[in-house]
């Protein structure tokens, strides 16, 4: 400012315009966003590809007919159904167990707390190949038949830590005085949980549940070890790559992606509304 004022007063010409600078921050952001989204854009675009033949790799024209024939491959539809059922069940079971685990880890001190934390992180860090192989031998040893139940058990096992960590983070920031206030106003321990603790944790529980759903629905490696005769969506696609992936896969991928985006948006809106109300 002072430079301009001085220039105006003394009558000297304004300094030359600085040369255009590249905003590296902006450039970097857009590069990363492109990196993340270009593959998805391709997937969506090729769900509208009017191909004739088996291979959906070159652009041949626009059509929406695949959306009409989305469920024409019975075995693909079956695989998708399996994946959705497993993901939903995983979300509910891992969501419940993980939330309780997160609550316990965030709120209470107990014998074995450190070990529980360690095991949780180990479950997240362990390579999936190792987990899958280990689970397969465990299931064989215990006599658990590979298939739907085995996949579900495996998925709950590897997603529960994610839920627990998400919920624990929220529990730690929760003011314990809120629960005391509820007790003080005549609520017993269960009523306190139902009316105060649970509603306050709900955004984190939902986020954890969605995470479990997302991890479950596209898991290939662990599932491939324990699936047995059952085919899930990722397994079917992998099998189909050898003979050519039908555009229905892109259609379903697009639909799943759209549903995921929708859920994420709803979650963000809810969390934001909660946050704007919640500031004491």
């Amino acid at each position: 400012m002072s430079v301009i004022v001085e220039g105006a007063v003394t009558g000297t010409p304004a300094p030359p315009r600085p040369r255009r600078r590249i905003d590296w921050g902006k450039l970097f952001t857009w590069t990363v966003l492109g990196w993340l989204f270009v593959p998805i854009v391709f997937m969506i675009a090729f769900s509208f590809n009017d191909i004739s033949g088996r291979h959906n790799v070159t652009w041949q024209g626009f059509t929406v007919k695949w959306y009409g024939q989305a469920f024409d491959h019975a075995d693909l539809t079956q695989a998708l159904f399996h994946s959705l059922a497993i993901a939903l069940l995983t979300m509910v079971i891992a969501g419940t167990i993980g939330s309780l685990l997160g609550l316990a880890l965030g709120r209470h001190t107990f014998r074995g707390k450190g070990t529980t934390n360690l095991v949780m992180f180990a479950a997240i860090c362990a390579p999936e190949v190792v987990l899958g192989a280990a689970l397969l031998s465990l299931f064989l040893l215990m006599g658990v038949t590979t298939g739907f139940v085995a996949i579900l058990l495996a998925h709950v096992m590897f997603t529960v830590s994610f839920v627990a960590i998400t919920v624990r983070a929220r529990v730690i920031t929760l003011d314990p005085k809120l629960e005391e206030a509820a007790r003080d106003l005549g609520a017993g321990p269960w009523t306190t949980f139902r009316l105060v603790t649970f509603p306050m944790l709900l955004p984190a529980i939902m986020a954890g549940g969605l995470l479990a759903f997302a991890l479950s629905i596209d898991d290939y490696i662990i599932t491939s070890f324990v699936a047995g005769e059952v085919t899930t969506f990722p397994l079917w696609i992998w099998g189909a790559t050898r003979v050519g992936i039908p555009p229905q896969v892109n259609v379903m991928g697009t639909l799943i992606f759209a549903a995921g985006v929708l859920l994420a948006v709803i979650n963000v809106i809810l969390a934001r509304r909660q946050a704007s109300r919640g500031r004491p």
């Binding site: 003011d175 005085k177 809120l178 005391e180 206030a181 509820a182 007790r183 003080d184 106003l185 005549g186 609520a187 017993g188 009523t191 009316l195 105060v196 509603p199 306050m200 909660q274 704007s276 109300r277 919640g278 500031r279 004491p280």
Partner: protein
């Protein structure tokens, strides 16, 4: 503080033998925590009786045990020993949700996911009060705390002062036997805090519920309380009305914690049953009401606002010392002087800039002055009280 006449009154006010059962009584209540291998005493053996309808303050520095005491009344802490009674009933092992007291938390602890009205209705709904009555009582209570128009808002949309009043309403609407307030004004700014002090006192008078108020702010306690228990190190250092505690602090700790006190070191030269004479370091003799041992080294205490400052020699019957003004701070309504005595002792004097004081009458630093006060305003304090002195306000040396 004008209740000078109260100064000579006996300091301890044992609760009068009221016909009613006290709202709260603590009998030999203590609380110890285990910290590693050590056992820490948060509250020593405490005996307290709080009468129904009283505004009672627990006052003390942080860590003095006042909050722990309150949490034991509420039921959030189990007493290590002793009995807690509400209305005469032993509630020592009763869960907080079954005690007929409610608490206002320092952080307010409002439920952020509920509206103001739902927050206030929370306690009534737990007691299964009929819906129509809940609605009416919530509305009345929001009226009382002047938040009638905010019933539908969420706590996050209110200012600090408004949240504070919601917290108050949420507790009061249950008509508890006693309301426990844990530094409820600590988070507010000075102006609002002063307004809320008067507001709290008004509400307490209107609803007539026993208030137990925890604070570290002596001004707050003096302003609002009927009685104050000054706590230190887990014990009650003094129990009494604000005037008693201010005018006749029972120990050095109380004198220094509440208001400002001058401590004048001296030696007892003469003692009889009527009182003692203390010779100060500067050579002046002071008459003291207490009977002390001749030859004993003591500190004489006098409050800054009790001291008159002037150039004329005061009446020899009063307590008087000559000195030199070391500093004078003009504060508008009052002037604060620091006066240095012959031996270097400094005395703080507060003088109201009243009708008879003109601006040029303010003594300049370096000028010689006389300090004088009525002999009843100076007294000798025992050292800080320990466990044995607990709860008994009086520490007169007989």
């Amino acid at each position: 503080m004008t209740a000078i006449t109260a100064a000579r009154a006996p300091v301890a006010t044992p609760a009068p033998a009221a016909p009613t059962v006290p709202a709260i009584s603590l009998e030999g209540v203590s609380k110890t925590f285990r910290s590693g291998r050590e056992t820490v005493t948060a509250v020593g053996k405490l005996d307290l009786t709080i009468e129904a309808g009283e505004f009672f303050s627990l006052l003390g520095p942080s860590g003095c045990g006042k909050t722990t005491t309150m949490r034991m009344i509420a039921g959030f802490e189990d007493a290590t020993s002793g009995v807690v009674r509400l209305d005469g009933k032993d509630v020592t092992s009763v869960a907080p949700n079954h005690r007929d007291v409610n608490m206002v938390f320092q952080s307010y602890a409002l439920f952020p996911h509920l509206t103001v009205a739902d927050n206030v209705a929370f306690g009534l709904k737990r007691k299964r009060v009929p819906a129509a009555e809940v609605k009416q009582r919530v509305a009345d209570m929001l009226e009382l705390v002047e938040l009638a128009g905010h019933a539908k808002r969420k706590p996050g949309q209110l200012s600090g002062g408004q949240q504070q009043r919601v917290a108050l309403a949420r507790a009061l609407v249950n008509r508890p036997r006693a309301l426990l307030l844990d530094e409820p004004l600590a988070a507010l700014d000075l102006k609002l805090r002063q307004a809320m002090q008067l507001e709290l006192k008004r509400i307490q008078r209107e609803v007539g519920i026993t208030f137990v108020y925890v604070t570290h702010d002596q001004g707050e306690a003096l302003t609002m309380s009927d009685r104050i228990a000054v706590m230190n190190g887990g014990y009650v250092a003094q129990l009494g009305t604000p005037a008693e505690i201010y005018e006749r602090p029972a120990s050095r700790f109380v004198a220094e914690f509440i208001g400002t006190s001058n401590l004048l070191p001296g030696t007892v030269t003469d003692a009889s049953s009527e009182g003692s004479t203390v010779r100060l370091g500067c050579g002046a003799d002071l008459r003291i009401g207490e009977t002390l041992d001749a030859g004993e080294a003591v500190d004489v205490t006098v409050r800054p606002e009790k001291i008159r400052i002037g150039t004329a020699e005061p009446d020899p019957a009063s307590s008087r010392v000559p000195g030199t003004v070391a500093d004078a701070v003009y504060l508008g309504s009052a002037t604060h002087y620091t006066v240095r005595l012959a031996d270097g002792t400094e005395i703080v004097v507060f003088r109201q800039n009243a009708d008879d004081v003109t601006a040029d009458a303010i003594a300049a630093p370096g000028s010689p002055v006389w300090l004088s006060w009525h002999p009843t305003h100076s007294y000798v304090l025992p050292e800080n009280s320990g466990p044995t002195d607990a709860t008994q306000g009086s520490h007169h040396r007989a």
